[in-house]
């Protein structure tokens, strides 16, 4: 019966094909389909003379088309190519002018203005600006005035952190809109910027870190928490209940717990409905490390232009609830692990403070201007993130200290020694010999910052030696000198004393940890309860959180980061308080890596000879330094370590001849 029907179908098909063919190309050979394969679905027939079919694109067809010029943007619609003028940004760099807030201002507006004014983009001159920023967060009715340099909205970014404020009060013209959770219907991809919906009390700077304390979910954690309509969360029953989230089953609470407050239950996934107001819950879940499962969101995910949300969240179709539930239950642990970690990385990097949100929005616009020199996607979507990996340094991930493993690579085998000779320093002849003796040394650069002229002759070394004169500020020791030819830098002071063994071993260790600082002498920070402030000590204790840059290996990228990314206030601090640069550099690296530096063993000598830059008993100025740096960062990025990396046979009772780094063993 069925085969009969199939046969007749087959015939009909054949006939129609013949008709079609004959109608157009009467000269073609008859097309005969191949016989059906046994068992398999029959599929689209294979025509024997398919080769004779004509191409959809006739040769010579296209050239006859009438080529067109671009059309002007229609109906007030804008896209990047049509409505943004990049010429201003190329000459003067990416400068942002912010309109002073019109009275009355909201607190959020104050926060935004303050954070941009402190950034390195800010300019007070509207004429040299590449981007004009207008915040619309004032109470309704107070924002209907078109600003003075409006210029039809060209090169303007209108910032709306609250979706409700000031909508439609004046024509946006050519302006871009950076809005909190914009609706997908009005959002213009590649032109507007989608911001996160922030709670009123979101901190300006620093911000609370992600709440995840472990990589994998605790075995006792629930699979799924649901965002409830009335606020709060509820742990979902995931057995066979057919409607765990459509709201109709609320009477059937059964064994579920109800969380009336805003606190998030300990769950692996957080199910969030697609309504615009639920964008707040999205951020909440992100911070908690609860993998957001969004059901057909009607709003654009924040920073979707650059953030690959498939790595941190699941956007599912609300019409297929059962399928979603099954998929979550069956999701392999590897994927769960990856999603969880990504929520934390994204939260800490782009969302935890107003400052980060604003900087991210600006960075996105800067990337559009940079075009081919913008951040590659990898830099946006893996630690430390695009705000700490500057595309002006390089667009190749391999040039940064963070991505060697992802790129299947490792740091090159040589370093540059950078010796800072300060005002009281002597030519560091012994040090040069010790460093030049290392098989890994590629070059030695002496940064001569002394009032006296440098000596005319320097010792003969196996590697090139270059004297760079005339840098007076201590912060200049971290300048990205173009003469530095290697990824690894050994930063030294004129009075540092190291042996070749120490240098060799420390460098080999650095190759295993190229994103960290590897040093010999350490400091340790602590919270001074009595004074209510941060302090630090040079005393030898069982842990440490900073290494001194008077003898430390690190990646040359940190010179770029130090010179080009520090906010204005911290740069001023570095210039005013020279001893503070060590602290600053350690903060910067810790903020990027979220890991402690690495200590390697050092001989007795330089522990006895307390170098002038090591404040044994740190004076008030030094104490002030760490507190001010912490305030500038908005949080305390330093992380403590309790270990030291020694050579494998370090001080073991075996023949010293077996040991590769025997220089480290000398009393």
């Amino acid at each position: 019966m069925q085969s009969c029907r199939r046969k007749s179908l087959w015939l009909a098909l054949l006939a129609s094909w013949l008709l079609g063919l004959l109608g157009i190309l009467p000269l073609l050979r008859l097309a005969v389909p191949t016989g059906p394969r046994a068992g398999a679905p029959q599929g689209w027939p294979r025509w024997l003379d398919a080769e004779l079919l004509q191409s959809f694109l006739q040769p010579g067809e296209l050239p006859e088309d009438a080529p067109q010029l671009r059309r002007a943007p229609r109906g007030g619609s804008c896209d990047w190519g049509a409505c943004f003028d990049t010429s201003k940004c190329r000459s003067g760099g990416f400068k942002v002018f912010v309109y002073p807030a019109a009275e009355p201002t909201s607190e959020m507006q104050h926060k935004i203005l303050a954070s941009i004014e402190g950034s390195r983009y800010h300019t007070v001159s509207p004429t040299e600006a590449c981007l004009h920023l207008l915040t619309l967060d004032a109470p309704a009715g107070a924002c209907s005035l078109v600003p003075p340099k409006w210029n039809g909205g060209k090169n303007h970014l209108v910032l709306r952190l609250h979706p409700a404020s000031c909508s439609g009060t004046f024509q946006l013209g050519w302006a871009m809109v950076a809005e909190a959770s914009p609706t997908v219907d009005t959002f213009r991809p590649g032109f507007d910027v989608a911001l996160p919906l922030l709670p009123e009390a979101h901190p300006v700077r620093g911000g609370a870190p992600g709440q995840l304390r472990q990589h994998s979910p605790h075995p006792g954690a629930a699979l799924l928490a649901l965002a409830e309509e009335r606020g709060g969360w509820r742990v979902a029953a995931t057995d066979s209940s057919a409607c765990p989230w459509d709201g109709h089953c609320e009477q059937d609470h059964g064994p579920e717990q109800t969380h009336p407050g805003a606190a998030l239950p300990n769950a692996t996934f957080c199910l969030i409905p697609g309504r615009r107001a639920d964008a707040l819950r999205f951020l909440q879940a992100l911070q908690a490390g609860c993998i957001p499962v969004l059901l057909s969101p009607r709003w654009e995910l924040p920073f979707s232009e650059v953030i690959d949300w498939t790595k941190a969240a699941i956007v599912a179709d609300k019409r297929l609830p059962l399928q979603v539930l099954a998929a979550l239950q069956e999701m392999p642990p590897t994927r769960v692990l990856a999603l969880r970690q990504q929520t934390q990385f994204l939260w800490d990097t782009y969302f935890s403070s107003v400052e980060k949100v604003i900087r991210t929005a600006l960075e996105i616009i800067q990337d559009r201007i940079l075009g081919a020199s913008a951040h590659p996607s990898l830099l946006w979507n893996s630690p430390p993130g695009a705000l700490l990996a500057l595309p002006t340094f390089s667009t190749s991930p391999l040039d940064f200290p963070f991505y060697y493993l992802q790129q299947g690579s490792r740091p090159a085998g040589r370093f540059s020694a950078l010796i800072w000779v300060g005002a009281t320093g002597q030519p560091p002849l012994k040090l040069i010999q010790a460093v030049a003796g290392s098989q890994h040394c590629a070059q030695i650069l002496v940064l001569w910052s002394n009032d006296k002229p440098p000596p005319p002759s320097w010792p003969e070394t196996a590697v090139p030696l270059l004297v760079i004169e005339g840098h007076r500020k201590v912060s200049a020791r971290f300048f990205p000198h173009s003469a530095i030819s290697t990824d690894a830098i050994l930063s030294l002071d004129a009075h540092s004393s190291l042996s070749t063994s120490e240098v060799d071993f420390a460098f080999v260790v650095w190759q295993s940890f190229p994103e960290r600082m590897v040093g010999f002498l350490t400091w340790s920070h602590f919270w001074d309860e009595a004074q209510g402030r941060w302090g630090y000590t040079a005393e030898r204790v069982n842990e440490f959180s900073m290494v001194l840059t008077s003898a430390a290996f690190y990646h040359r990228y940190y010179h770029t980061l130090f010179t080009h990314s520090l906010p204005k206030a911290l740069r001023r601090l570095a210039e005013a308080a020279p001893h503070c640069v060590d602290v600053l550099m350690n903060f910067l690296v810790a903020a990027a890596t979220k890991l402690p530096p690495i200590k390697v063993p050092s001989g007795r000598r330089h522990e006895d000879a307390s170098p002038p830059r090591v404040p044994g008993d740190l004076g008030p100025a030094a104490r002030d330094c760490i507190d001010r740096v912490a305030a500038g960062f908005g949080h305390m990025p330093l992380v403590s370590s309790r270990l030291r990396l020694d050579p494998v046979l370090f001080k073991d009772p075996v023949s010293v001849l077996r040991k590769k780094y025997r220089g480290l063993e000398k009393p």
Binding site: F56, P59, T86, L212, P333, S377, N542, D646, V648, D652
Partner: protein, 630 residues
Amino acid sequence: MCLWSGCQPTVPKNKIKVFIYSLKKYVDDSGVPVSNTISREYNELLTAISDSDYYTDDITRACLFVPSIDVLNQNTLRIKETAQALAQLSRWDRGTNHLLFNMLPGGPPDYNTALDVPRDRALLAGGGFSTWTYRQGYDVSIPVYSPLSAEVDLPEKGPGPRRYFLLSSQMALHPEYREELGALQAKHGESVLVLDKCTNLSEDVLSVRKRCHEHQVFDYPQVLQEATFCVVLRGARLGQAVLSDVLRAGCVPVVIADSYILPFSEVLDWKRASVVVPEEKMADVYSILQSIPQRQIEEMQRQARWFWEAYFQSIKAIALATLQIINDRIYPYAAISYEEWNDPPTVKWGSVSNPLFLPLIPPQSQGFTAIVLTYDRVESLFRVITEVSKVPSLSKLLVVWNNQNKSPPEESLWPKIRVPLKVVRTAENKLSNRFFPYDEIETEAVLAIDDDIIMLTSDELQFGYEVWREFPDRLVGYPGRLHLWDHEMSKWKYESEWTNEVSMVLTGAAFYHKYFNYLYTYKMPGDIKNWVDAHMNCEDIAMNFLVANVTGKAVIKVTPRKKFKCPECTAIDGLSLDQTHMVERSECINKFASVFGTMPLKVVEHRADPVLYKDDFPEKLKSFPNIGSL
């Protein structure tokens, strides 16, 4: 879209099912055919779908429907009648869940950027969308297929500097753009080449395969391989087949077509393979391109070629990529990742994506779970339990009882310790039982410890845990071992001598993340797991391989300890003094290296000691004074 039950659970899992309508002839009221018969490409496209996992011949199970009405090229269509033909499809329902493929939309004089056939709710896979017509997250932007892909044999040319820096090969360009290109050529001389159609070729030469500059004749598409950057300008339409030719030649496309939605832009990262320049900035294009470093250019050339190979070179590639994109929207939890779409195979091979990539030091309070594998050495086992229970951060102790012939001692005989102690009985005496992800493991940190390891001090173990917290993605162990390349024998060799290097740690006592238990049990490559169980050896080497391979990182050896000496053990460190044992261990390394297809172990020259270890400092002020000996 895809509202129907057809999209619910399917076999194979998470795959949409696509139905193709059979071929029919559609005529209008006066009996004139509505459209041409199908084109070669549309036939290929339907064949490709029909051969794929997506295909179903059961219309009731289908979630997506593809008509056999060819709308690839709007030039050949009668708009109104085609719409009527579509409406006659048995499941049309205003186009719901129907997919139309169109590469050349619009027609003179305005050339709309999307197919003009009214399609209602149907999904459009279109070539040449603009930002105005593209419905993000709904439509799919596809390439305009270049028939030259099949006609011309063009051997691959690697990346690197080429004769021309910038080339324009398109024939139909607006005079204004041609003028601007001419100005670029005048300014930059021979590094810019602007080609046009040839006017004085003899008739038998195929004009689409030739391009001319003044009187010079060039072969197309071969000439594209002579250029680093190739201009892809808008013609009458935004989507141009030349894009495909350019990618194939490994020439980096310079796309000058404002508002054009690049093919598969939903998943492909075009920044890696192209330069998009606003039309207004055409005059600056040379300087914009010059600012790109050579290394990045070569990367883009490689990427361009890879995009062509994977997503442009055949109609099949285009069809399958389109269906994959739609599939990923419906099954987002099984979607293909950015890396899988974008990384060329060479990058995918070499790169490592650490499963524990987040820099996070777990809180000390979490503690660790000690897992003791034991067979019948009860006395020694009890001593290990007593010793380990003194470690402050121990939170649970799990005894894996691997003896099926004998029951564990009754509860009252076990040492009384301050943390929960659980005994798990196994079904078979297998070494891999030590690395099973037991539900009882509640902490992330696991201490695997043999039932005869009684020499480790409490300080030593606590310090090991502290080190693991700082390196939670690594194996943290005590005695270290090394693999060496034996040049004479041309194979790997196991080394337990006093060396300056380590690449493995013994798991007789080692801390690691419990996730690696999951990997060991369920994701160990090849037959390694069974091989270990059959040989009753090398489970530790297998674990070292596994962790190094998945993280790309070395082990951390802690403290000076070189071997596990225990009073009861006879001539043992494991068994390793034994000569045959060494041979066996070497064999394991060779076996595993061949299964992994690489040598994942990383050699380092450091170990971790407490900060003040062996420093001249009062012992009582040190956190870990009793760090043990060799």
